[in-house]
């Protein structure tokens, strides 16, 4: 199929896409878009609140994502899965292969964000951050790599962060995990490239979701304010990048995820794509 002619039924017609962290936010946005582009969807989310994270998705929200996906005309399998549970992730992939025949695309998106200076960064915060944001991504990749490799076809995108492109104070755990995702992506890209499987990372700045809009994040950027509001922080967020945008729309990330996993991005692999209003322009790499 040519790159300039969208196939009937959407760019991902006939493809099976697994999205982790699909209950809300970026995960939901990506899932709905793939559904609109003709894919069948596998959705998962822990759908449970952890003490070590901001507001996480609920079972109801995961089901709402599934409803949106169905409304777009897509077949969907939706399941509560904690990405730290590699056995459960593997079972989800095994079920996908049984139901749909394969998994074509993995969007390893599940993640949390918290902030603390080193001296108060607790073991629990470190552990959950690394276990979810790094090991969770590896678990998902390990679950799909065998089937993608065997079929000599597939595309993996992991959600990293602009925080993975510099040293970010008060986020040693988050930085570590998100930097680690890039190393994982590049090494996996080298291994899986000969088998027609691409592996990439997206590195967004703040996105217009719960992960950005909460007191912990606001306070990080405006420690001078007691209970900063969205309007109060917007200018500060905007000042961090040269385009003056406070936060991305989810679709700004979705477009990148779709590009990297579509025919258009067929030879893009091992890359970390900065979607950050130019925050990255001050970096060497």
């Amino acid at each position: 199929m040519g790159m300039t002619n969208a196939p009937a039924g959407g760019r991902f017609a006939g493809q099976v896409v697994l999205v982790t962290g699909a209950a809300k936010g970026q995960g939901r946005g990506h899932a709905v878009r793939f559904a609109e582009e003709g894919a069948s969807l596998l959705l998962c989310d822990i759908a449970e609140q952890l003490d070590t994270a901001g507001r996480m998705g609920t079972a109801e929200e995961l089901e709402a994502t599934a409803d949106l996906v169905r409304a777009a005309g897509a077949a969907v399998v939706s399941r509560r899965v904690d990405v730290r549970d590699d056995v459960a992730l593997q079972a989800l992939v095994d079920d996908a292969v049984e139901t749909f025949g394969t998994v074509d695309v993995l969007v390893a998106n599940a993640g949390i964000a918290t902030y603390a200076p080193l001296e108060t960064l607790s073991d629990a915060w470190w552990d959950d951050m690394v276990d979810i944001n790094l090991t969770g991504v590896a678990n998902a990749m390990r679950a799909v790599a065998p089937v993608m490799r065997e079929r000599r076809s597939g595309a993996i995108v992991a959600t990293s962060s602009a925080a993975a492109r510099e040293g970010v104070p008060n986020a040693a755990h988050y930085s570590a995990a998100k930097w680690g995702v890039i190393g994982l992506v590049k090494s996996a890209a080298i291994e899986l490239g000969p088998f027609g499987v691409t592996v990439n990372a997206v590195c967004p700045m703040s996105v217009d979701t719960d992960m950005c809009h909460n007191q912990a994040t606001y306070t990080l950027f405006r420690p001078d304010l007691d209970e900063p509001t969205r309007d109060a922080v917007a200018d500060t967020f905007a000042s961090l990048n040269v385009m003056g945008v406070p936060w991305l729309d989810v679709r700004d990330v979705t477009e990148a995820v779709v590009y990297l996993t579509s025919e258009a991005g067929r030879y893009v692999t091992g890359t970390a794509l900065d979607i950050a209003g130019g925050w990255n322009a001050g970096h060497l790499a």
Binding site: P117, L118, A138, R142, G167, A172, A176, G183, L184, A188
Partner: protein
């Protein structure tokens, strides 16, 4: 050595040499660094798996430090005229790591230098990697380093005095097939180092990273799976059967990966760079120095 001035004010007896905590000090680079810093006038807390701790690893294909290794390092430190405290522990054990700090500081004085040279290696492609293989490398190389940094660095910052050097492999600076777990852990360690460097910069504490190409000592040289990941597909047997990886084919194939045409970084070469970063890098922080036989020359950053 005039560069002791900004770091060396921690000793109880006012000697001014300073106190270094060195992990992975039982063998190889860690031992060499411990001895080098001792020769510079520092007292040393030497940390490694020392034989009283049962090494809780199931997925590694080489022998870990143990037995007399740590005591041998301590003996070399004492031969250099410095004091040594031996701490036999697993860096994944947080209570042991936390107890080590007062144990060192009560005996030797506040820690002024930290070198994390602990780490494990293995090689396995991601499509065959088990959870245990992932965990053992990430828990040791990343979280183990975090445990030590968290136990030591806040004290350095409050004293406005300290120098930290973390170490990782050259898969921390690029993608490398067959070692995605070590790559993830190493990249993550660099991210952590830079984040912490930012936090403690104004307090005069420096945090550097030495990214080492394959070092010609255990563990790297003895891990068949890691070496095979570098020199060929993981399914190809190379070197002798059993025991440490043999000479010949492996060395030639490793050398071919490096612009300098050598297979291994010598332990002393790595230690010299770490020694510099630990004692002479005051106007730098958040820096990664590649001691990797020329791989850096191919890198974009």
């Amino acid at each position: 050595m005039s560069d002791r001035g900004s770091y060396g004010s921690g000793r109880r007896d006012g000697g001014g040499g300073g106190v270094a905590l060195v992990t992975g000090a039982g063998r190889g680079v860690g031992r060499a660094v411990a001895v080098a810093l001792a020769r510079r006038g520092l007292d040393i807390g030497v940390v490694d798996l020392g034989g009283t701790v049962a090494p809780g690893y199931r997925t590694l294909d080489y022998e870990l430090s143990g037995g007399d290794d740590l005591e041998s390092t301590a003996a070399e430190v004492r031969s250099a005229g410095r004091r040594a405290v031996v701490l036999d522990l697993d860096v994944r054990d947080r209570s042991a790591v936390r107890a080590a700090v007062p144990a060192v500081e009560d005996a030797l004085g506040p820690i002024t230098h930290l070198v994390v040279a602990s780490g494990v290696v293995s090689g396995v492609p991601i499509h065959r990697m088990t959870r245990s293989q992932w965990d053992e490398v990430v828990d040791t190389n990343l979280t183990g380093a975090f445990n030590v940094v968290k136990a030591v660095v806040p004290g350095m910052a409050s004293r406005r005095c300290g120098s930290v050097v973390l170490t990782c492999g050259s898969e921390s600076r690029r993608g490398v097939g067959g070692v995605s777990h070590a790559s993830a852990a190493g990249w993550a360690l660099v991210g952590m180092a830079k984040a912490v460097a930012m936090e403690v910069a104004a307090a005069g504490v420096t945090v550097q990273v030495a990214a080492l190409g394959p070092v010609g000592s255990v563990p790297v040289r003895s891990s068949r799976s890691y070496v095979e990941a570098l020199v060929g597909p993981a399914d190809d047997p190379v070197g002798d059967g059993g025991g440490p990886v043999g000479e010949g084919g492996v060395d030639a194939r490793l050398a071919a990966r490096h612009p300098q045409g050598r297979p291994w970084v010598d332990v002393d070469e790595a230690a010299a760079v770490i020694e510099f970063l630990a004692t002479g890098s005051r106007a730098m922080t958040g820096v990664v120095v590649d001691v990797d036989l020329g791989q850096a020359a191919r890198n974009s950053a």
